[in-house]
Symmetry: C2
Amino acid sequence: MKITPTRLSDGRELIYFDDDPDVLAGRVTRELHDPRDLPETVAESEMRRDPLTGQWVTYAAHRNNRTYMPPANENPLAPTTPGSLPTEVPADDYDVVVFGNRFPSFSTSIAMPDDPADYAWTVDGQDLYPRRPAEAACEVICFTPETTKSFRDLPLSRIRTVVEAWTHRTAALSRIDGVVQVAPFENRGEEIGVTLQHPHGQIYSYPFLPPRSRQILENAREHRAATGRDLFDDMLAAEHRAGTRIILSTGGFTVLVPAAAKWPVEVMVVPNRPVADFTGLTQDEHAALARVLKPLYMAVDRFFEGVERTPYIAAWNQVPVQSRLTGDDESLRGEGRLHLQLFSLMRSPHRMKFLAGSESAFGAWISDTTPEAVAERMRAVWPDDKEWQ
Amino acid sequence: MKITPTRLSDGRELIYFDDDPDVLAGRVTRELHDPRDLPETVAESEMRRDPLTGQWVTYAAHRNNRTYMPPANENPLAPTTPGSLPTEVPADDYDVVVFGNRFPSFSTSIAMPDDPADYAWTVDGQDLYPRRPAEAACEVICFTPETTKSFRDLPLSRIRTVVEAWTHRTAALSRIDGVVQVAPFENRGEEIGVTLQHPHGQIYSYPFLPPRSRQILENAREHRAATGRDLFDDMLAAEHRAGTRIILSTGGFTVLVPAAAKWPVEVMVVPNRPVADFTGLTQDEHAALARVLKPLYMAVDRFFEGVERTPYIAAWNQVPVQSRLTGDDESLRGEGRLHLQLFSLMRSPHRMKFLAGSESAFGAWISDTTPEAVAERMRAVWPDDKEWQ
């Protein structure tokens, strides 16, 4: 793999991750210069802590102007081909490319208030409402230059390059002052509001511990206090004993439906040994992971009869940056494990689950299916090795 | 008001709440007998505790067969008129009616496993996965017999009857063994998956403390430990000092946009004094609440230019049944306050917010607006008193 870091005209970083180390030499026309004259974007994001729930909510009003479903000839994630409008990617071809989001929720260039008094960082001067600049980074990752393709279509070598890119960015974003967790995820499908069809994901970083991560770490800490054992180890052992929800266990990873899955389709990929984040995987595990993800994404798109592309959210939960767990949160260090949570809100062909009163207002999930039924279906549609090897 | 309890043919309770105490005498044709021959429904709901998040997830697979958007002549919530098919409501007219949900998420008639060994109530015999029957009750409340109307159209007297019905059911459902919280809510709009257009709400009860309630109680307990004061008192005081998010304060209630609101439109109605649930409101407060809700629901439907019916979720958060807070949760007794959380996922006319990776996978909300802008808009569209008095 070859990594080529560059800059866009407004100063944002753009990095090419090429499958083949010789790729730059082999492509005569690769253009690294961004011909556009973009103004530097300064985000106005702020975060506020809800005194009732204790959660940080981020306000990024500037994002209301972002690009929605542009016509195909204005796809900002496509390579820039000769004669066409320049896109976000100056090169006329790429394998995988990562760059700063032009409309980020979190940014390292935050507009600070004019009035120094506002630096007190409370809402309206009320101590009950802490407020902070939403300082972190949001990046975009394109999985392929081919707009009509999807993650499931990537060859193993490309999936491996994507894993390397996630690893590289996890290390880089973790170094940003104040970043607590790096969160690569992909939203796929118009059904869940995806605004650009080009196969791509997001790499968010959070300047606070996101609620789900906090829950997991707190439960893992309690489990260790009570049993002396690792919660993920015990979960994997319980799944192997039960056998009813495991889809695949191979090459250092287990693919399973969680015993208390919330979503109509939900799959988890977990390393069998304690790995904190992408930077903890070995080269062999990168290759093994690619061989797990390829059939998984194929199976997800076969889950519903007559649905060619299952809308999904695929989110990589990584352990937080340990040194940023301070105060009471220091006791959460050493807990958690890298895992993929891939889920869909589709409940039957073309019918979506809506999060209504129980889920959205009270946080209490009601499911119309069972984890065992989902696992059975996943095993039934899982592709034979020869379909993708 | 007159309360007339009856039973449907399958044994479910159905209760008429009539605005006028003399109503039954005044309507010659009211039929209390359900002419249908419905089999008793036995739910198969179970709950499982997710070891990673600590949350209970409910599985109600039998609900997959429930009624979707029936044609108007099959509206199961309409009164049964002579010559038409019998509906869920045998009477040919009603003001407000409450009855057990035919497809409940939680039920007091749960099918128990055949094998006594399954009573151990763990998933697959694994101690890591506690499992329980989903025992509680789910009721439906119809606000009016007029199918094309909406909550905003109800006269004050009817809103008061609805409040009395919520109060009656909060008391009744709280008495069910194991019920921890009673949760009246309304989902409105096809945009959020509402399956029946008839103006109605749900009254859920939960056999566990729902996640959002737990967060609120824990934060209130911490706030009291740190300051000696009530969190809701301090929140209301902070809002009055700031003044930027209060929409209305009158008759014992404050209407405001929370300082860290998560949703594109979000409004909270809070009693100014500590009231635990509907049963703690005085008769005067019932009347005052009706005078707050009427203009509020009118304003919500004026929020977006060109949108006649704003899709919303209106959820009443009540304090849990105190005696059911046991063990560590005993320390949560005495915390919390009745409040309405009314919110919409509409972000601009006919464009919905989707909960994608950040919200759904990590629980980290990103908002495109600010609470102050929402409050300003609500004040601008708030109806004059003479429009509804």
